[in-house]
Amino acid sequence: MSRMPLEKKVLSENDRIAGRLRERFQERQVFCLNFISSPGAGKTSLLERTLESFSPSERVALLTGDIQTDNDARRLARFGFPVKQITTGGTCHLDARMIERALADWPLESLDTLLIENVGNLVCPSSYDLGEAAKVVVLSVAEGEDKPLKYPAIFFKSELMVLSKTDLLPYVSFDIGKAREYALQVHPGMEIVELSCKTGAGFDDWMKWLARRRESAKAEKVLASGQE
């Protein structure tokens, strides 16, 4: 019997497709975000309000993943931007192949921004790269403030944590200071935005982050092409 070292990634096939997607996004200058949270944390509400605040000339499109139903796609299509539902039929996460398939008949040239709403799940989506520029994790104040410690992978891999449903703070025992502290323990330097989609409080901070992050992605691209 002999032992052969391999040193390969288990999800190398997914990573290969995600790499291909990332290249396409960079070539076409499409800024892509991957939204992850547990079910019911408010991803769809955040995206609804985001689409609502975009001007109609904004070149944005949305992919939304769910195990069943196209309810979210219907909710999001009201704003006039292209939306496509990915129904996974049982799979608890989106993978790069699903994104590639969903984008097959979409002209990426006509887009500046692609928002991907992952399946509601705080664990599995963290393992699958979709070619995005950044992951955004949404944590609602109706959950436990220790979620960053319980599910470190996704908080570690996300650039931004959105603390949602802050209008509920008077009615729940969620300690927002602790939530921030725990997130920063798992991911030192993580950016954090607090907002309520219901009242609109803090929503500007989110839109500013989005605009700033989109600009920095563009600048990186320019820098990278300058070095070639």
Binding site: R3, E7, V10, H93, C124, S127, A153, Q185
Partner: protein, 115 residues
Amino acid sequence: MHELSIANAILDAVRKERELLNGARVIKVGVRIGALAGVDPEALSFGFEVLVKDTDLDPLALEIESTLRRHECQHCKHVFTVVDYQVDCPACGSTETRCIGGDELELAYLEVEET
């Protein structure tokens, strides 16, 4: 519960490697899982056992090596494992440390029968 998908990806990878080895009999596959990988070793072992049974790869053992989160101090370059989210440098006390490992989800090795 994406461990089943991951177990499947491991089996696919083993099959691919076996082809490169001209069909040699693979006895064991070693997988490295970091504390930040978001993969539960127990669920993965269970999914793996279920999936491998009665296939061309059966019997194939899975060995999981768990790795902890590792940080490097930006000041004194000390490398340390992080326990209970204590990310400050234990050597010089600096709070500026950088994560350099612990999110692995890797195929580490194969054990193959000698022919």
